[in-house]
Amino acid sequence: MIPAQFDYELATSADHAIELLGGYGDEAKLLAGGHSLLPLMKLRFATPTALVDIGRLEDLKYVRDAGDHMAIGALTVYEDVHFNEDLIRECPIVAHTAGDVGDPQVRHRGTMGGSIAHGDPASDIPTVMLALDATFVVRGPGGEREVAASDFFKGTFETDLAVDEILTELRVPKLGGAGWSYQKFHHRAQDWATVGVAAVVQRSNGDVGSAAIAFTSMNDTPMRSHAVEQALASGEDPASASQHAGEGTNPVSDPLGTAEYRRAMAVVFTRRALEEALSR
């Protein structure tokens, strides 16, 4: 399979990438790890007339302790996030989940920023970002802006990014004593999530005080489960609160599972996520 022709531009800085994008209008795309874009281009589902390669922007590959939060450069690959000692200590749900994406070769190339910018509701990292109330740093011709994860995902493959903007950084809170879990339900070890559930739990007397629950593959975007969160806030125990997991969801039916099956599995994996989070 051979992609359609395109012009290739190698960006030497984020600002250079923005300038190059500006020159092409909405016909150009950024190329990061290429592990969502290339498969689409090979099938000719995507036919950008130009690619702006940001894969060599070394200054956007980092994990930094920024005091009250951890900062992750958008071009950092999953593998480096998975094994990053600071993240394992300060925000282990991110390091853990990066190791759950695809297979080793995918994790050597795929980037954190690409996974957010692509806007695929089946992706794992966006779900974790929602549960963490992460912030994304976006740069465009007019300068830099910050976007809350809750405002970023607009629809399947649709995000808040404009055509001449680049995502530069992901900011996640330090978890402190909070419990956490990402439950990825998949058929084969390396499959995409049929259903994914992220839980970040603040304990109170050994029980759930408050919790953030987010789902993968349960809507046209990654989503927070307000139904489960409210049930927990009103004092229901994890097993009973999990029963609300299907509420407000709108999953697709595809070869991995029907919508009904996904809702049933969301209940099971929400309960497991809460149990695991409480045990950590």
């Binding site: 399979m1 051979i2 992609p3 359609a4 022709q5 395109f6 012009d7 290739y8 190698l10 190329l31 290429g34 592990h35 290339l38 498969p39 281009m41 090979k42 690619l51 390669d53 894969g55 695809g102 297979d103 080793p104 070769q105 995918v106 050597h108 190339r109 070890a189 390396q190």
Partner: protein, 165 residues
């Protein structure tokens, strides 16, 4: 051809330059451009790992990279494993432990094994299975692939301690 660009990549220790269209996939450049057909195309959809090569020592799927993305970097393909007419320990391992049947997945599996052993010369079964978890084999059931990698690890270790003695 319009919009060609010059790339230069060190392949198995030797610098290779050519003019390519940006859409040229790395696997096509290796197979058709350089005639290095040891790198196989299985699925062409990033699922099977048959096209795995080492990019600066790290396993990647060459069907899911443009050749331009490897410009200026170093690649190892299966042809680069043998040195001075002597098989790499991983190749010997696959031979001794019967780690292949049809051989289609073998180049990718051997490169993953070689990369793993660089970091971890004494891998457990679990370590090996994790390292090859992105690659499919339709013949062996994986059992002998695991043994082949472990054999190679032991061989490398014993050669090292032999060299020290």
């Amino acid at each position: 051809m319009a919009n060609e660009t010059t790339i230069s990549i060190t392949v198995n220790g030797r610098e290779r330059s050519s003019e390519v269209e940006p859409r040229m996939l790395l696997v096509h450049w290796l197979r058709e451009g350089l005639g290095l057909t040891g790198t196989h195309i299985g699925c062409d959809t990033t699922s099977c790992g048959a096209c795995t090569v080492l990019l600066d020592g790290t396993p990647v799927k060459s069907c899911t990279m443009f050749a331009v993305q490897a410009d200026g970097r170093a690649l190892t393909t299966v042809e680069g494993l043998q040195q001075n007419g002597k098989l790499h320990a991983i190749q010997e391992g696959f031979k001794e432990e019967h780690g292949l049947q049809c051989g289609f997945c073998t180049p990718g599996m051997m490169l993953l094994g070689a990369a793993l052993l660089e970091d971890n010369p004494n891998p457990s079964e679990k370590d090996v299975r994790w390292a090859i978890s992105g690659n499919l084999c339709r013949c062996t059931g994986y059992q002998n692939i695991v043994k082949a990698v472990q054999y190679a690890g032991q061989k490398i270790e014993s050669e090292r301690s032999g060299a020290q003695a």
